[in-house]
């Protein structure tokens, strides 16, 4: 399976996302923001960072880039798309996902090992988890507070489209402790925490077992791979 990772000017975790794809035994393909070309990939990851310096609004300029025209079209055809942090912001800015992300409630950037509950396993990116499973994924953002109108929140909750929820501590003031959501079809998932930083023992979050041993993030990428193989 070939998974594309888009690099925008100001992307930071693009190489990390490529590494995660590799660790999941898929083939990473570097995609460029200025191209109208998905190079025939089977799925796309929109990585974290500060695309275009986060000018205007986080993800707003990236959402209008050449590559995103293709990503939006592919998403509508059912291609698995994962937006991580800044990528999640792009997904809301391009209306593939509802709502938006605002400045953290505390006002400052936060980096921490975050406990999450997997609320939905019916998406392409979470099918390998069991429902209600608790996982640890690094989180690092300045504008990660999820916000939406009451109707949208009710719909997301009612349709089981809240995919990840913060447990124990809500690091950014997100409504309903929402850490990640999906579209109706379940092929597009956006989340603020960074699964690509929990893929390799020694470089992931601390767990109860050992320091930096957390690899829960790898299963998002494996899920996409397994979903593809199943089809």
């Amino acid at each position: 399976m070939r998974i594309g990772v888009v690099t925008f000017p100001g992307s930071l975790d693009d190489r990390d996302a490529q590494r995660a794809v590799r660790f999941a035994d898929a083939e990473p393909v570097a995609l460029w923001h200025g191209d109208h070309d998905l190079q025939g990939v089977d799925a796309v990851v929109l990585p974290g960072g500060f695309s275009y310096g986060d000018y205007l609004r986080c993800g707003a300029i990236a959402a209008r880039s050449a590559i995103m025209t293709e990503v939006i079209a592919a998403a509508e055809q059912g291609m698995p798309i994962l937006g991580i942090c800044n990528g999640f912001q792009m997904l809301t800015e391009s209306h593939l996902l509802p709502g938006g992300l605002i400045r953290n409630e505390a006002g400052s950037f936060v980096c921490r090992d975050q406990l999450l509950r997997v609320e939905s396993t019916s998406t392409t990116w979470t099918s390998g988890f069991s429902a209600g499973e608790e996982i640890i994924i690094p989180l690092k953002n300045g504008e990660g507070g999820y916000i939406a109108d009451a109707v949208t929140i009710e719909r997301l909750e009612g349709e089981g489209r809240v995919v990840f929820r913060y447990l124990g501590y809500n690091p950014n003031g997100s409504m309903n402790d929402i850490a990640g959501i999906s579209n109706e079809r379940g092929n597009v998932v956006g989340l603020m925490p960074h699964p690509e930083h929990a893929i390799e023992p020694g470089f992931g979050p601390d767990t109860a077992d050992a320091m930096r041993s957390g690899v829960d993030g790898l299963r998002l990428f494996r899920s996409a791979l397994e979903s593809a193989l199943a089809h």
């Binding site: 000017p9 100001g10 930071l12 975790d13 190489r15 990390d16 590494r19 974290g48 960072g49 500060f50 275009y52 310096g53 986060d54 000018y55 505390a106 400052s108 950037f109 936060v110 980096c111 921490r112 690094p138 690092k140 300045g142 960074h194 690509e196 930083h197 390799e200 020694g202 470089f203 601390d206 050992a210 320091m211 930096r212």
Partner: protein, 784 residues
């Protein structure tokens, strides 16, 4: 210009479009010759009269205003090291062939480069941004990060980590919160946005830094040997290319005086003296530069920092074939009203200057075009030996670039043994009341853990990204930061920074060596082998002979110490004039030590990870409380002589730790420094929430000390390690074979059926929950 364009005649309008052509404002080389006695504002630009006369002597005429601008910034203390040079030479002199065998680039370039094996090299440097960070903490700290990162890129390296050594005023002073918030969010903003993991550093509060915070930023980069680049302009006919952000009026210190004193009234007035950073522009510049290096499109490269184009052109030319011709009209401007002098002096951020072969220019332009980085060819390399800068068709600078960049003034400033220091040294802390009762000992252990300087710094580090790039093997709160360089082999580096201004105040020679010893030890405990040093020397005014004495002693101590440890100083920076009125800061030489580890998988954390380990104290504890955190906190005392330092012992200790980690005998290792054994035990316990039972009777008996001394003394050459029980015999055997003092002082088993605690047998039992509440509560209480 007094006439407004609306009312003016066509002739006037033409003058407004090019207001400098006929006015007295363009000071050309020709005019300097024909109008030799024109008064020049050299004093306002910070030049002394004899320095100004020297410039006239070099040129054989008065300088043009552009030349004066260049000389004034390049001969400033900051750029020329004129007061420190005579002392800094020791770093180059006190070396052995052994010390330099892995040194690819030493002092004098943008940053030192060390061969770390497997075809990889690591470059690192620490630099100050103190004064801007007091005036405008956010931008001051942000651009401090930006500047040091560009130094790293200039070497051909990919920046991979940053670290900060910060010193603020008293934690409870009203102005401290302003500076702390600004500095921390500035670093957070800039480094996070660059995608560089922040892997540690230090934060220290003391009223001596109240109006003089120290913001020292360290950056590390990695490169393949063949990617090494240097800042020189070689090859006649090669193009001089300026790329990155446009040049604006920010960061012009002296130039604002220049502009308002003698130049255009219609030009920009008072510019902000602190630069403004755009990390997005820098991130794009990093990726763009790395692509240029990859495609071999650059012959020489230099970043633009202090003194901007003045510095870049004169340094590149001096280090190369010696000549350069530059047309200043080609500089892309953010503000078209800038004068030539201001363009020369602007410190606008996120700019680089490259030397490019003409036949590679198209390929170069294609890469910068891909990254949408604005670029302009300013001129070319010549063999005339002159740096010639033209503006609006006339020559405004014609100098030998070496006289600007290399052969600046050098001062052997007077030094004086401080009148107060004997009395200070006589006032030892050893006579201060030391507790003996368990309750009192426990209270002091907890008070130290919750004190400003020993408390948890995660309120700060949680604002920094430590994950990005996916190679961080250790970061705060471990003693040193560690980053993987090679994903296949696991090759990596570790870095730590340390300084203790209190020790240096008592004895600057020994204090500098103590900082070196601590940073060295902090690298060694991670399992890495220390290989190189970068230093940031923060002092008061060099015009004060007592400060100059402190400086000379610190440099001497550091140079002697590096020689003894066998690791070279590869670069760094000097920051003088850190004082308020006549009161200088404590001398604060911050020492960064870089180590290499063959496989980061064998890194050792600084806290206990598992129950059932034995805890050993390596080294000897003596009654050494002078200058200690304990004396400061409990008695408000600062006097006496700092702890003895034995660098041979430090080397042996590092060797022992290296052996122990290679044989996988060590579960954790924590260096003993500020707060002594007590603080090391607290931090080891809180790292992963594993308690311990400690017994110190044998130690006290062996070393002839009381319990308070065992807990709070800051004797050097000491580390606590935890060792799995099954490795006990081997570990003790290793220590004995290397003749390093070793004493078992406890176990990481808690008391049965009790919450984890730090238990000192027969004396106290403090629950980790209580300990953590105090330790982690201090910073949020003051700043959250």
């Amino acid at each position: 210009m007094t006439t407004s364009p609306v009312e003016s005649s066509p002739a006037d309008a033409a003058q407004i479009d090019m207001p400098f052509v006929d006015g007295p404002l363009v000071d050309t080389v020709e005019r300097a010759a024909t109008n030799p006695e024109r008064e020049q504002p050299y004093a306002a630009l910070g030049l002394k009269e004899d320095e100004y006369l020297k410039i006239r002597e070099i040129l054989g005429r008065r300088p043009t205003s552009g030349e004066l601008a260049m000389y004034s910034v390049m001969w400033s203390e900051h750029c020329s090291y004129k007061s420190s040079k005579v002392w800094l030479r020791q770093f180059g002199q006190k070396v052995t062939p052994e010390m330099t065998k892995n040194l690819m680039v030493g002092m004098g370039e943008n940053a030192g480069v060390i061969d770390v094996g497997e075809g990889w090299a690591v470059t690192f440097k620490i630099e100050s941004h103190n004064h801007p960070s007091y005036i405008e903490p956010f931008q001051g700290a942000a651009t401090g990060v930006g500047g040091i990162v560009r130094d790293i890129i200039s070497m051909g390296a990919r920046p991979v980590a940053v670290m900060d050594a910060l010193r603020f005023g008293a934690i409870d002073s009203p102005d401290t919160a302003r500076v702390v918030h600004g500095v921390v969010s500035g670093i957070s903003f800039y480094a996070n946005c660059l995608g560089l993991p922040n892997i540690g550093g230090e934060t220290y509060f003391d009223s001596v830094y109240q109006a003089n915070p120290l913001v020292n930023a360290l950056a590390v980069g990695v490169l393949r040997h063949e990617d090494l680049h240097l800042a020189n302009a070689r090859g006649v006919g090669n193009k001089v290319v300026l790329f990155g952000a446009r040049t604006g009026g920010d960061g012009i210190g002296g130039a604002s005086i220049l502009a308002s004193d003698s130049f255009s009234a219609s030009g920009p007035t008072k510019r902000p003296a602190v630069q403004v950073g755009d990390p997005f522009a820098e991130k794009v510049l990093i990726e763009c530069c790395l692509e240029l290096f990859r495609d071999d499109l650059v012959e020489g490269i230099q970043d633009l920092g202090a003194a901007g184009i003045s510095c870049a052109t004169s340094e590149l030319a001096s280090n190369g074939d010696g000549g350069m011709a530059v047309d200043l009209d080609r500089v892309l401007l953010r503000d078209p009203s800038l004068t030539a002098e201001e363009i020369l002096m602007s410190e606008s951020q996120e700019r680089m200057m490259a030397i490019v072969r003409p036949e590679k220019l198209d390929a170069f332009m294609a890469v910068v075009g891909k990254w949408e980085v604005e670029t302009s060819v300013l001129g070319e390399v010549t063999d005339t030996g002159r740096l010639i800068i033209t503006w609006r068709g006339e020559t405004i600078v014609d100098v030998d670039p070496r006289t600007v960049a290399v052969d600046g003034p050098v001062y052997d400033r007077p030094i004086a043994y401080p009148t107060w220091i004997d009395e200070l040294n006589a006032d030892s802390a050893s006579g201060l009341a030391r507790p003996t009762a368990g309750e009192e000992l426990a209270a002091q252990v907890q008070a130290l853990a919750a004190s400003a300087n020993l408390s948890d710094k995660s309120w700060i580090t949680a604002q920094y990204d430590r994950y990005v790039m996916g190679n961080t093997a250790l970061s705060y709160p471990d003693d040193g930061g560690m980053v993987r360089v090679d994903e296949e082999s696991g090759l990596g580096f570790a870095v730590a920074t340390d300084a203790n201004g209190r020790y240096c105040y008592l004895d600057p020679y020994q204090g500098a060596q103590l900082a070196l010893a601590e940073a060295y030890r902090n690298v060694a405990v991670t399992g890495a082998t220390p290989v190189a040093v970068s230093d940031c020397l923060n002092f008061g005014s060099p015009e004060n002979p007592e400060v100059m004495w402190q400086f000379s002693k610190s440099v001497e101590g550091l140079a002697d110490g590096c020689l003894e440890l066998g690791i070279p100083v590869t670069g760094g920076n000097v920051s003088f004039y850190n004082q308020t009125g006549n009161v200088p800061i404590h001398p604060t030489p911050v020492v960064g030590v870089l180590g290499v580890i063959d496989d980061v998988a064998r890194r050792v954390p600084s806290g206990w990870q598992d129950e059932g380990h034995n805890i050993y104290l390596l080294g000897i504890t003596s009654l050494e409380l002078d200058g200690s955190a304990w004396a400061g906190l409990v008695h408000g005392h600062l006097g006496g002589r700092p702890p003895a330092v034995d660098l041979q012992r430090e080397k042996e200790l590092a060797g022992l730790l290296n052996g122990g980690t290679k044989e996988a005998l060590i579960g954790s290792a924590h260096d003993l420094a500020d707060g002594g054994l007590a603080q090391a035990l607290v931090e080891s316990a809180l790292r992963f929430g594993i308690g311990a039972r400690i017994f110190l009777d044998e130690l006290c008996e062996r070393d002839g000390i009381d319990l308070a001394t065992a807990l709070f003394s800051e004797s050097t050459g000491r580390v606590i390690v935890s060792v799995p029980r099954e490795d006990d015999v081997r570990f003790v055997g290793l220590c004995e074979a290397r003749r390093y003092p070793v004493q078992r002082i406890g176990v990481t088993d808690g008391l049965p059926d009790a919450a984890p605690s730090l238990n000192l047998q027969g004396m106290f039992d403090i629950s980790l929950a209580d300990l953590r509440a105090g330790w982690s509560g201090t910073l949020p209480t003051h700043f959250a």
